[in-house]
């Protein structure tokens, strides 16, 4: 059973590139916590977001109400959606582990090891755990689209922290893609054919996204975070 030391509060920084669904993930994470009867607050980076430009979002997730606001400057979870965040410095926070607290978790979407010797020194000193896996490849393999990369990343962090159940996640993903008005079963009958068609397409999208998340939960379960290794490379 993989689970990083249980905390009341996780402060997360999500770094990626425009178009990867960084901000969407933050919103869905927030809804997951809400569905689980817990608390979350999220902050997107207010700047000039565009495709392939750096994007950051911040999520605080807690079992208690959250007072503080603003960007997470000292995270205990960092999620990196694109290897270029590390290798090209495409990030508002350079280097990527800036502000990372002790005994924390880094999840990187990459097909190759992106850590330099210097990074390894700093992260070892912080007693961090780095999980590297190819979330994009996983998304392509299961959902047939790299647009599900964010689902793989979100599945991994929720699988490792066990903050919420898969039911909480499914409800949140459903809300995001179908909207709450589509959830009520009685309402679907009255929809006209055009919306029905769209709805069907979205149902498929939802199912694929959930498949990706379920797979990452399995992967997360296979990880032993109590091991002494700094870096854990997962094959997808």
């Amino acid at each position: 059973m993989a689970s990083i030391a249980k905390r009341k509060r996780y402060n997360m920084r999500i770094s990626g590139l425009g178009g990867q669904g960084v901000v969407t993930t933050a919103h869905i994470l927030g809804s997951c916590m809400d569905n689980a009867g817990k608390y979350a607050s999220l902050v997107p980076f207010f700047g000039s977001e565009k495709r392939m430009a750096p994007v950051e979002a911040y999520v605080r997730a807690s079992s208690e109400p959250i007072y503080e606001v603003g960007e997470v400057v000292y995270p205990d979870i960092i999620m990196i959606y694109h290897s270029q965040v590390v290798t090209h410095g495409k990030s508002y926070t350079m280097p990527f582990y800036t502000g990372l607290k002790k005994d924390s978790l880094v999840i990187i979407n990459t097909s190759v090891n992106v850590l330099e010797e210097e990074d390894i020194q700093v992260l070892t000193k912080l007693n961090a755990k780095v999980v590297q896996f190819d979330a994009t490849e996983l998304a392509l393999k299961i959902a047939g689209t790299e647009l599900a990369t964010n689902m793989a990343m979100m599945g991994m962090v929720l699988g490792l922290t066990q903050l919420v159940t898969e039911d909480n996640i499914e409800k949140a993903v459903r809300e995001r893609f179908l909207g709450t008005s589509f959830v009520t079963s009685g309402g679907t009958a009255s929809l006209d054919s055009a919306i029905e068609k769209k709805f069907k397409k979205k149902e498929e999208l939802l199912a694929k996204n959930m498949e990706v998340i379920n797979k990452t939960f399995e992967l997360a379960d296979s990880i032993d975070l109590t091991s002494d290794d700094l870096v854990i490379d997962l094959a997808v």
């Binding site: 606001v69 997470v72 990372l100």
Partner: protein, 389 residues
Amino acid sequence: MSLNKTYKDMDYLLNEAPREQHFITGAQAMAEAVKRASVDMAIAYPITPQSEVMHLVGDIYAQGHIKEYYRAEEELGTMSAIAGAARAGVRVFTATSGPGLLRGLEAIVSWPGHRVPCVLGVLTRVINAPLSIQPDNIEMAYLMHSGIVMLHAENQQDTFDFTLAAFAITEKVDVYIPVSVATEGFFVTHAKGYVDMMSEELAFTEPDPYHAPVPVMDNEVPPARIQRDAPVQKSNFMSYLIHSVWQQEVWDSNRRAMKYIYQYLGGPVEVLNPGADVMLVASGCAAAQAREAHRYAQEEGLSVGFVKVRSIRPWPTDEIRDALKDAKTVIVPEHNIIGWLCKEVKASIPNSGIVVEGPRVYGGMTLPVELIMTEIYDALGMESEILQA
């Protein structure tokens, strides 16, 4: 348009009316308060991050909750028009941010002396170079010596409650000066939080122009406080006399607002864990960060207390002095470089040497709770985790 409103006094609205929880932004919270305040007229000039508030106020005008609404030419015009409308006896609202506040300041600082009742929303934003839209709150320092009442909201709930209360306080016959409600841009205005609100069918009793210390202006009655007796046309000594009378009256009015801050908002300060060795004193968004630090400190069993300052003007000297009387160290986190709150705190206690000047963040940056914790550990002589830069 008939909206079926039931008019109630502010005591009922704030302290008795049943409320329902909503998850809304700070901008929405301010507009929702305006919706329940029976506002006659709102005047807008957009500036980020205030635009959201006045846009939403425009929406509620379209829905019929406000009688008149227009977009002015710029802030000096806005603030001058607000004075004109208020003198004509109507209830008015406007809001601005950082540079907009400074642009309107010439008119704003004349409001209290002219006995202009109105509510001004201040959604903080950087004013100093380099240009930025982020929520530094240094602009509030410029408002502190204007005579205007200043409330500083910690979150979306405060923004709603303070704005609603402001409409009652500004029209009290023994106050009758403007009331500003400030909160941090983006952190509060553009972020959602839980807000308990009463039904929108409830509204604040409409203004009573006969219950005012100065007569309402119309075509026959000139403004009570200007041209007819313009000091500039008198001898210098007459001018000095009038000036002293007006301004002493302004600051007395400002102090008299305090009893209404107790009545409607539970007082100018909130104190948690009084008597602790380390006291955190903060207002606005910094109070949210300090509240979080206070919780962490409680979890770690540290002797730490928290004072949230709701009212910047009138300044609660006695309340602050009392809350800090047993403190060994006072920490004042702020969202500006000059530390205007810190200066006020230091001036309120006999042993100002115990006040740590900070932590402060600039340019509207987040105020990390970790920085406050580091100051707490330092004050208690404890080792703290070295934070990487």
